[in-house]
Symmetry: C2
Subunit: 199 residues, 2 copies
Amino acid sequence: MHIAILTFDGFNELDSLIALGILNRIKAPGWRVSLAAPSATVTSMNGVQLYRQAELDEIEAFDAVLVGSGIKTREIAQDTAVMQTLARLDPTRQLIGAQCSGTLLLAKAGLLADIPGCTDLTSKPWVQEAGIEVLEQPFFARGNLATAGGCLASIYLAAWALARLVGRDAAAEALHYVAPVGEKEAYVERALGNIGPYL
Amino acid sequence: MHIAILTFDGFNELDSLIALGILNRIKAPGWRVSLAAPSATVTSMNGVQLYRQAELDEIEAFDAVLVGSGIKTREIAQDTAVMQTLARLDPTRQLIGAQCSGTLLLAKAGLLADIPGCTDLTSKPWVQEAGIEVLEQPFFARGNLATAGGCLASIYLAAWALARLVGRDAAAEALHYVAPVGEKEAYVERALGNIGPYL
């Protein structure tokens, strides 16, 4: 099982790395989580430069794809090579999610036709302009397509992917591990409350 | 104002990068947040390799220092060069915080004498063995020294640093930005409730 978190130049560290940390709580043979990028290194919105762990061009090989967010998403939406790669995504056989401005990329790639979405407050007008109804909630999914809004909703997106790919108990266990001491039960309950209706 | 997040090989991405993302919400001249490491690149517990943004050896120059967590902390606690550098921290003029196993490093550096601390469930026995009383809560601070337990308690540690360095309103604004859509007020309230008693 290979999950890719698409991470572009200007990426928001919270969106890509929270998902990566939570998804990596699964310790099973063949379970792999990768930051996937179009270039060997990418630099975040706050100057953190890191190496990708998978190539974006492997997109058909990923079982699940989460599209991260960042400050350059509107430029990336104009990048023909990237958008042609995203258009190769297949929601009938791949689990697909997007975080904040990543929702704009899924919209522009034609993957959200007739599906409402979540995004952050800054990206909201751009996503609406792309013809998508934006919901005032942190998480929404229909079938294999999910979107989340607000950096820390990346916790819900990752939990949804875990619940879909492994099971609800695995998602709860991962959430319990990462939650603050003394607040673990409440964190798990809130997260499962957000993703439960879509499982 | 230069805030360093100490990040070592084997680091937990959540602990270092959540703090970095939240602290970087401040857009003021001279405000700088850096991942500081002993080597030019460090690799996380899940294989994410990134470049440091500041050298660990600059430790006296940082106004605030947050010690991140990771899977190699017990080895790092045996690294004489790193521990001698940490011993140069001065809580009378620097704001100092630690996340999860980072609490062990502060304890071993002698900075937590007679101060109880927070840490994660795995690190708890090691921190207790170092002579520190471990609290069953996500955050605790006394004066310029703070500790947090559970990966997502990094949100509270970052908010405390913002509240101390800029003000409570700045902390609330940063939290509001990163919180999930539809849950922003509750997130801000919970975080401020955790750090409020220590401001």
